[in-house]
C-alpha cells in the first residue's frame, strides 16, 4: 500500500500543478511556484504571532493568504506597473521573503520558525500521516484527501472556464473584445495557483511542487502544438514522473521528492532531444529537408 499511496499522491499533485503550469509557462510566469514558496514566509510568521502556535492549520491559513497576496502583487506590478512578468515575480517574492526573515530575526529568534520546519511536508510521510475521524475510523492518508480535493477544484476551473482561460492566455486583447474579463480569469487562475501550491507544499514539500509546476508542462510543450493535447500529455507525464520517481527512490534508497524531480528532468531532456515538435532531432531533420528542397529548387 505504501507505494500506492505515495505514487497516487505524487500523481495527484503533479496533475494539479502540471495543468496550471501549462497556463503559467504560456503566460511566461513559470517561476510563480518558486516565488510563492519563498513569499509565504511572512504569512507563517504572522500566523504564529497571532495564534502563538505552530499548528498546521494556522500555518496553512497564513501561508495561503500570503500566497494569494503574492500573486496579486505580481499581477499588479505586471499589468499596472508595466513591469515584465519575470521582473515582477523577482521583486515581489524577494521582498516578501526578506520581510519574513526580518520578522523572524527581530521577534522570533528563539523559535524554530521557517517553512521547512512548520509548513513543508514530505512525500515519504504520506502513508503514515493518516486522517483519522473522531470516531477512530482510518480514512486513508491526509495528503490524498487534500491533493484530491485540490485536483477536483483545478479540474472544475479548467473545464468550466476552458474557453475563457484559453483565450485570455493566448490572445488577451481578442478575449477582451469578445467580452471576457481578462482580469477576472487572471485572478481566478492565480488564486488556483496559490491554493494549489500552498496545499501541495504541506503535502509533499516545496521542491516537488516547483518541479511539477514547470517540468511536465514544459515537456508536453515540446511534444505537441495543440493546447488540448498538451494538457492531456501533462497528465500522462505527471503519472510517469511520479511512478518512475518512486521506483528510482526505492532503487537508490534516497529522497523520494528528489527522485521524482530528477525523473521530471530526465523526461524533459528526452522530449528536448527526441520530441516531434520542438526536439533537437526533429529540428535538424526539418532543417535538412528544407535545405534539400532549396537545393532541388535551385
Amino acid at each position: 500500500m505504501e507505494a500506492f499511496w505515495i505514487i497516487l499522491t505524487g500523481t495527484l499533485v503533479a496533475t494539479s500543478c502540471g495543468l496550471l503550469g501549462n497556463y503559467l509557462i504560456l503566460r511566461r510566469m513559470a517561476m510563480m511556484g518558486d516565488a510563492i514558496s519563498h513569499a509565504v514566509l511572512p504569512g507563517i510568521v504572522l500566523a504564529f504571532f497571532l495564534t502563538g502556535t505552530r499548528d498546521t492549520i494556522a500555518m496553512l491559513i497564513g501561508a495561503g493568504l500570503l500566497g494569494v497576496l503574492t500573486t496579486f502583487i505580481i499581477d499588479f506590478l505586471h499589468k499596472r506597473g508595466k513591469l515584465q512578468a519575470d521582473a515582477s515575480i523577482g521583486v515581489t517574492f524577494t521582498s516578501l521573503f526578506a520581510i519574513g526573515i526580518i520578522l523572524i530575526s527581530a521577534f522570533a529568534g528563539q523559535v524554530d520558525l521557517d517553512q521547512d520546519c512548520v509548513l513543508y511536508g514530505e512525500i515519504a510521510y504520506v502513508p503514515i500521516d493518516l486522517w483519522i475521524s473522531n470516531g477512530g475510523t482510518i480514512l486513508g492518508p491526509r495528503a490524498i484527501w487534500i491533493s484530491g480535493g485540490v485536483l477536483i477544484l483545478v479540474l472544475l476551473l479548467i473545464s468550466l472556464g476552458y474557453k475563457e482561460l484559453y483565450l485570455t492566455t493566448f490572445d488577451p486583447s481578442y478575449a477582451g473584445v469578445v467580452g471576457i474579463s481578462v482580469g477576472l480569469w487572471q485572478a481566478l487562475l492565480m488564486g488556483a495557483v496559490s491554493m494549489t501550491t500552498v496545499a501541495s507544499f504541506e503535502s509533499v514539500g516545496a521542491i516537488l511542487v516547483v518541479a511539477f509546476l514547470i517540468a511536465p508542462p514544459a515537456t508536453a510543450y515540446l511534444l505537441t502544438t495543440r493546447f488540448r493535447t498538451m494538457l492531456w500529455l501533462t497528465v500522462g507525464i505527471a503519472f510517469l514522473t511520479s511512478t518512475g520517481g518512486y521506483v528510482l527512490a526505492v532503487a537508490i534508497d534516497g529522497s523520494i521528492a528528489g527522485a521524482m524531480a530528477t525523473i521530471a528532468g530526465i523526461l524533459f531532456a528526452i522530449a528536448f532531444v527526441f520530441g516531434p515538435e520542438g526536439g533537437l532531432m526533429s529540428r535538424r531533420k526539418k532543417q535538412a529537408t528544407l535545405e534539400e528542397s532549396t537545393v532541388s529548387a535551385a
Binding site: 497516487l8 530575526s105 521577534f107 529568534g109 528563539q110 523559535v111 524554530d112 515519504a124 534508497d253
Partner: protein, 308 residues
C-alpha cells in the same frame, strides 16, 4: 481525441498493476520487539534498556541535523515495521513530529522529552515562547527521560518488563555519576571564564544545569542566519571578558563562528576555536563518542581544556 484515450488507458493500467502488486508484501515475522528512534541519543538510551532483546534503529545518523533531516523510502519502511516509535518532540523534528503526534492514535509512539515536567523545560524570552528541545545536555533531565522510557518499554513487552526496568535503573545510576562528573569538571573552570560560546543555541540546558553562561550566535533553528549585530555583540563580550575560546558544532556549519574569531582578532584579542562539540547528533558508531555518555564526556573535556 485519440491521444487522450491512450493516456487514460495507460494510467488505469499502471494503477491496476501497482494496486495488485502491492498486496502481498507483509512484514517479515520476527518475535523481537522493534524500536525506531529519531535521534541517536534516544537510540542509545533504548539500547541500554533493552540490551539484546530488541532491535533498535535510529533514523538520524552521526552528524545529521534533526532540523534538516529528510526521510528516505528505507526510513519509511523502518517506521512502518516498528512496534514502537520514540521521538524527541518539542518540535526538534519539525513537521515529522507533527506527523507522529497524529499517528499516535494508531501506533505506540512516544515523545520522550514531552513527558518531562514543564518546570524543567527552558523557553526563549522573545515573543511567542517556544520550548528549547535540546534536553539531553542536562544529564539529570536525560536520566528522567531514560527512566520514563524504561516504563514505556516495560509496558510494551510485559514479559520483559522487569528486565527493562532493572536496566533502566542501572543506566540511570550511571547517569547520576556522569551528572556529578560533568558538574565537577565544569566547576574547575575559573568563574569569570565560564562562558560557552557556540554557533547555535543547543546548550541552554547544559548551561542551566552546570552553571556555565551560554551565548549562541544563531537562534534555536539552525536555519536562521546570525545578524551583523549578533556578531558584533558577541565580539564585544569576548574581548571585554577576555574569553579564551569559542566552539563549533559537528552538525552545524562553522562559517559564522569564524566571523566572530576574525572580529576578535581585529580588536587585538586572540580567541581560539576550542574544538568541535557534539550538539544535535552523536559521533560515529563504534567510537566512544558514538554513545551518549561518551558524547557528553567528549564535550566536557573539550570545553574544560579550552577555557582553562
Amino acid at each position: 481525441m485519440n491521444i487522450s484515450k491512450k493516456i487514460q488507458g495507460l494510467i488505469l493500467l499502471f494503477l491496476a498493476t501497482i494496486t495488485l502488486g502491492c498486496g502481498g508484501n507483509e512484514k517479515e515475522s520476527s518475535n523481537r520487539l522493534k524500536v525506531v528512534t529519531t535521534t541517536g541519543m534516544l537510540g542509545d538510551a533504548v539500547r541500554n534498556i533493552v540490551g539484546d532483546s530488541a532491535e533498535v534503529v535510529s533514523l538520524m545518523g552521526p552528524g545529521v541535523d534533526p532540523h534538516l533531516y529528510k526521510a528516505t523510502q528505507g526510513d519509511l519502511t523502518q517506521l512502518n515495521r516498528a512496534d514502537l516509535i520514540i521521538y524527541n518532540g518539542l518540535f526538534l523534528e519539525g513537521k515529522m513530529g507533527d506527523v507522529f503526534s497524529r499517528l499516535q492514535r494508531t501506533k505506540p509512539i512516544v515523545a520522550a522529552a514531552e513527558n518531562l515536567d514543564s518546570t524543567f523545560l527552558l523557553s526563549g524570552d522573545a515573543i511567542g515562547k517556544a520550548i528549547d528541545p535540546h534536553v539531553w545536555f542536562d544529564v539529570s533531565l536525560w536520566r528522567q527521560v531514560v527512566l520514563h522510557l524504561g516504563e514505556v518499554l516495560a509496558e510494551q513487552s510485559p514479559e520483559l518488563a522487569e528486565y527493562f526496568q532493572d536496566n533502566a535503573k542501572q543506566y540511570a545510576e550511571q547517569l547520576v555519576a556522569l551528572d556529578e562528573e560533568v558538574a565537577t569538571a565544569i566547576a574547575t573552570i575559573p568563574e569569570g571564564q565560564r562562558v560557552l560560546i557556540t554557533a547555535h543555541d543547543a546548550f541552554g540546558y547544559f548551561g542551566n544545569r552546570y552553571q556555565i553562561e551560554v551565548e549562541g550566535l544563531q537562534g534555536i533553528s539552525t536555519l536562521s542566519e546570525p545578524g551583523i549585530r549578533d556578531v558584533t555583540e558577541l565580539v564585544d563580550l569576548i574581548t571585554e571578558r577576555k574569553i579564551k575560546a569559542v566552539f563549533v558544532e559537528t552538525s552545524v556549519s562553522d562559517k559564522s563562528i569564524q566571523a566572530v574569531v576574525t572580529g576578535c582578532r581585529e580588536r587585538g584579542h586572540e580567541v581560539s576555536i576550542g574544538g568541535s562539540l557534539f550538539s544535535d547528533a552523536m559521533g560515529a558508531e563504534d567510537t566512544p563518542e558514538g554513545t551518549y555518555p561518551g558524547m557528553v564526556r567528549s564535550n566536557v573535556r573539550i570545553i574544560v581544556d579550552a577555557l582553562h
